[in-house]
């Protein structure tokens, strides 16, 4: 084993990306924790709030987060217990149920969002001048388009309607 394989530029590139992700994640989690939210709970709140009627079917919510359907069931359990969201029966399909944000959930999001945006600016977007930031984002966009799960999720075209709203 040649020890210098670890100096391979490919390794250092992903190392860089992952370190940035880890650093940002940690700071986000710390700030969200001050508002009694975990990272996934914040994302659930965000996804629901940007959806029409502040609601989403459980399956669609799972598709938009990086959670399995059972994971969504559990996080919705917790947040419903905390009064942040509620389940509502779907009128057109009795298998489905909606997760809908409560006023308390919206308020919690309002409280935590400004600090979150400030954190992004302080530790990420504000660290680079506009040109460098654009170059970074362009590169990320290009990689994202290649590696994005939606590009490979074309196995069953039946769910295309919901996926089209996501991607």
């Amino acid at each position: 084993m040649n020890p210098n394989v670890f100096d391979d530029p490919r390794i250092t590139a992903v190392g860089l990306l992952f370190e940035v992700h880890a650093g940002l994640s940690a700071r986000f989690a710390a700030q969200l924790d001050e508002h009694g939210l975990s990272a996934v709970e914040f994302e659930v709140l965000t996804r629901l709030s940007r959806s029409p009627g502040n609601q989403l079917r459980m399956t669609d919510l799972a598709a938009q987060t990086s959670l399995s359907t059972s994971g969504v069931t559990r996080v919705v359990d917790r947040m419903e217990r905390d009064g942040l969201i509620t389940r509502r029966a779907c009128p057109s399909d009795r298998r489905s149920s909606y997760a809908v944000v409560t006023p308390a959930g919206l308020q919690r999001l309002d409280e935590s969002l400004p600090g979150h945006l400030q954190l992004i600016e302080d530790w990420f977007t504000g660290q680079l001048d506009p040109a460098a930031l654009n170059a970074l984002l362009d590169g990320l966009r290009q990689v994202r388009d290649a590696v994005h799960p939606c590009a490979t999720a074309g196995s069953s075209g039946a769910t295309g309607a919901t996926n089209s709203a996501v991607c």
Copy 2:
């Protein structure tokens, strides 16, 4: 709540970064799974193999991975059970113990590394022309230097010696 907050360029920027991370992580995990390794186990193997003597104290291993010390204890338990690494008593300090890679561990790493590198090239570094890649990496480096945990770990200067080896 103005729904357009979510179009804030800061939100989309982190969304991009996190999507790329999630996509790459998923593909890495799938490939490593073919070799019977999880992502953390692969990282442990990597960190140990690039260290002098193919070994590291448990605490230092925890510092280099994003695991707590108890997390390191458990992952070393599993990998020791699988014959990938071994514990060795530290001669100079009877509190410490080394985790050291076994030949089987090195072989496992050798088997999985080429595919891993290929994956990085296919889905990340190979997606951009050299100039764009350099711009991306420069931006990441700048953000990393700002957000890196080591920059904030200066609360107790006593551990500076070990940290200096990491950063």
